[in-house]
């Protein structure tokens, strides 16, 4: 889009802004960036206080900033997924063991594993130190999940997809359609089950369920996808783009080589055998090829975007608040590394890493920067 075009539409934008819920003014990329930065912090520590602080901050920001959309409940869902992650991690520790310590809580009957599986155990002593380490580990995973949940609640993945480069348009449409299938299936299952109750058919044998629930739901899904395909086609999806074949092939090749280069660079960087400068060069070359491919292809894509989300000061502020949390963690890593990775053997109450905690508290700033409007009570009945 050319800059003058955006200026021409400016008066209209100011006219329509009051209609939009204020909480939605933040760019989806900013929300996802903020959430991923918080997730980075969670990945760099096992301190339970810090992790709980991150969960609390994410919860606060979601409560204050989320819009009225259906996906705004995602945070709660991910909170439950996070709790189950902790539970699963604990269950794994109890059954298969892990780090151990002197404080034995219970001793389970154990089985001896053959030579090749040395290092694992089944059953055996459950120690407080090991359980605590497993709990920290589970909490870390849960916090990561909660951060993703917060991003989902604040900006739906669909809105994020609208910000992908035009070259990846077709891919993003496929993802959007796939995303809409899940809720539709849920709705479809609900309808079919209610209809089944109307018929008094409540048999639970697999054959009966297959015939009366699975088959109608799949039939429904197939019908829907056909009519969606027809609707998308009648609305211009998949128009002959008029891009000459050589150009299309060139961009495709650039994208492919770019991605291959990125992979090879990342591999070389993580491996120890390749000298670092070569790895970095490979990574940079790959990134350049990919960026070139995307940019080149984007200019040729005949689609335009309706009201693309623009990055504004408040979006930078949101990102910066997330970055502050990471910076705090890095400082803590330098000055108080022990607090970031609290030892569980011997058992003791972990200390709160102050730098990191201060950073995470700063990451709550979006709650003040971009609060959503106090939601009015939903009207009685649908209009």
């Amino acid at each position: 889009m050319s800059p003058d075009a955006s200026q021409r539409t400016a008066p209209e934008a100011t006219r329509t802004v009051p209609l939009r819920a204020p909480g939605r003014r933040v760019h989806p990329v900013a929300w996802w960036g903020w959430a991923l930065l918080l997730a980075t912090v969670a990945g760099r520590t096992a301190n339970p206080w810090l992790l709980l602080l991150i969960v609390a901050v994410a919860g606060l920001v979601v409560t204050w900033c989320r819009g009225p959309e259906p996906w705004s409940d995602a945070y709660r869902v991910f909170l439950f997924i996070g709790l189950s992650a902790v539970a699963v991690r604990m269950a794994f520790y109890i059954v298969f063991g892990g780090s151990d310590g002197p404080t034995v809580l219970v001793t389970l009957p154990s089985a001896t594993l053959p030579e090749w599986a040395a290092g694992f155990r089944v059953g055996g002593a459950v120690t407080a130190e090991g359980a605590l380490a497993a709990a920290y580990d589970g909490l870390r995973l849960a916090t990561l999940l909660v951060c993703v949940g917060a991003a989902n609640a604040l900006a739906s993945p669909r809105r994020l997809l609208r910000s992908v480069p035009a070259a990846l348009y077709e891919v993003s449409v496929a993802v959007v359609v796939a995303l809409s299938v899940a809720p539709q299936l849920v709705e479809s299952v609900g309808r079919v089950r209610r209809a089944r109750a109307l018929r008094g058919n409540t048999g639970r044998t697999p054959a009966n369920l297959m015939r009366t629930v699975v088959a109608p739901v799949l039939h429904d899904a197939l019908d829907r996808s056909l009519s969606l395909a027809a609707a998308m086609a009648s609305r211009g999806y998949g128009r002959a783009a008029g891009v000459p074949a050589p150009a299309r092939r060139a961009t495709g090749a650039a994208l492919l080589f770019g991605l291959l280069g990125l992979c090879a660079g990342a591999y070389a960087l993580l491996g120890t055998t390749t000298p670092a400068p070569l790895a970095w060069a490979l990574l940079a070359a790959g990134a350049a090829a990919a960026v070139f491919g995307i940019a080149f292809a984007s200019r040729r894509v005949p689609h335009t975007r309706y009201r693309p989300d623009r990055f504004k000061a408040v979006d930078w502020a949101v990102i910066a608040s997330g970055a502050a949390a990471v910076a705090g963690t890095v400082l803590s890593g330098v000055f108080e590394p022990a607090a970031l990775w609290p030892a569980t053997n011997p058992l003791r109450v972990p200390e709160l890493p102050l730098w990191a905690a201060a950073g995470v508290v700063l990451a709550a700033a979006p709650a003040l920067l971009a609060p959503s409007a106090p939601s009015s009570k939903p009207p009685k009945g649908t209009p």
């Binding site: 109307l198 008094g200 027809a230 211009g236 999806y237």
Partner: protein
Amino acid sequence: MSTGIAFERVSFAYEDALVLDDVSFDLPEGEFCLLVGPTGAGKSTLLKTVNGLVPHFTGGTMRGDVRVAGRAVRGATPADLADLVGYVGQDPLAGFVTDEVELELAYTAEQLGLAPAAMRKRVTEIVDLLGLADVRDRALAQLSSGQRQRVAIGAALVAGPAALVLDEPTSALDPTAADEVLSALHRLVHDLGVTVLLAEHRLERVAQYADSALLLNGGKVTAGPIAEVLAVSPVAPPVVALGRLAAWPGPPVTIREARRHAAGLRERLTGLERPAIAPAQAGPPLLEARGVTVDYPGVRAVDGLDLAAGRGERIALMGRNGSGKSSLLWALQGTGKRSGGRVAIGGADPASRRPGERRQLAGLVPAEPADLLYAETVAAECEGADEDGRAPRGTCAKILDDLVDDLDDATHPRDLSEGQRLALALAVTLTAAPPLLLLDEPTRGLDYPGKAALAARLTQLTAAGHCVVVSTHDVEFCAEFASRVVILSDGEIVADGPARQIVAASPMFAPQVAKILPGWLTVAEVAAALEADGDVAGG
């Protein structure tokens, strides 16, 4: 040469079934044309040939030429024609690609690569034109069905097509919402010069807006001014049927025209016996609902509603989209959610029973009758229904026989026509012999003969002692069927009484005949009175 939509000797066939047979017509630019025809005549097929969905999405053999605004359509894909023809399908929800109103409106424009500034202007225009300003920021899932349909029409218009093709756009809408949609379309024809081709079963809503009509029957098309076409059509709105009966010239298509001719007929009818009005409270009480409340997150769909009904009553539940009709039916049946209040059917609360016993108290045919059906053939469906209801073998098949004639047992339920599928769902429901029968919007997709047949069947059932409650937007069906009308608004009853009183008092729910001849509801009733009068005069 025409610049609207022109068909030249178009034939179309699936395998061996000929749907369009040498069809030729020519719609000038800016015409509002109505496509009429009985159910299953191939109206959807004809509409889809305009934007290439037929044969690109359906297969089949097509001959002849279709031109839109002078551009040949044959050979082009629907996507290539997106800037030329806007298409609005039967179910708006099935055609939505995005999940927000504005993005949905902009989708076509994005595909066509419209400049952002032009696109934004265009979307704003469409939002104003279709009255969507209040909901432009909402998610599509939060809209009512009327708003969804307007979004679908808006989305088809954003690219500025020369022609707009609509397949039953108002069949799911209440009369007021339908009027809003249709007057918006009417304005488009005037302001933008869009050629509109619209298929609809509820002609009483659309006929007044249309300039011309195409009658599709047996693969052949008759084109002409709307009055001439409707005069010979097997499906015609009540006003035209009344005009035919009274031999008014034209015949008139709008209420206003008809009123001008009506003086003579009114005079003849004064003093004539109206056919016997069905007694309002016929049988012993059956349904007793007190304080029924249904809450959804953030919305109270039904609000402390009281309703009592007796056997033999024919109740029509009317009200705007989202007034709580469906929620009430589901709550009464007991399968749906009920947040508060009591329901007793013959003294028993259906919600406390197991589903198998519940359906012996109250049967519900949902808005999508196909949901009730899951067998491969009609015969298997009937057997399954007998098993589900532990009814003697053949019960369902026998009920179905009484409801429809000549139904092929080996047909897949999804291949049946709308009317047949409804009859099958009704037969499946009736197999449990529930005294209370609830139907949610049963007339969608039915033509006038189909609706008359349904009304007759339901009347027979009430005569046999059932109590039938139908939720409907269809005022003509209500006039034909109901003995009592209950009007809901915001989950509360705002009017309840004998059909004749209630619909005559409401401008929104009055049938066409009542608007022309106050006090009379249907053409059949007028015809019967005239005939009786003629007999008296003659003998």
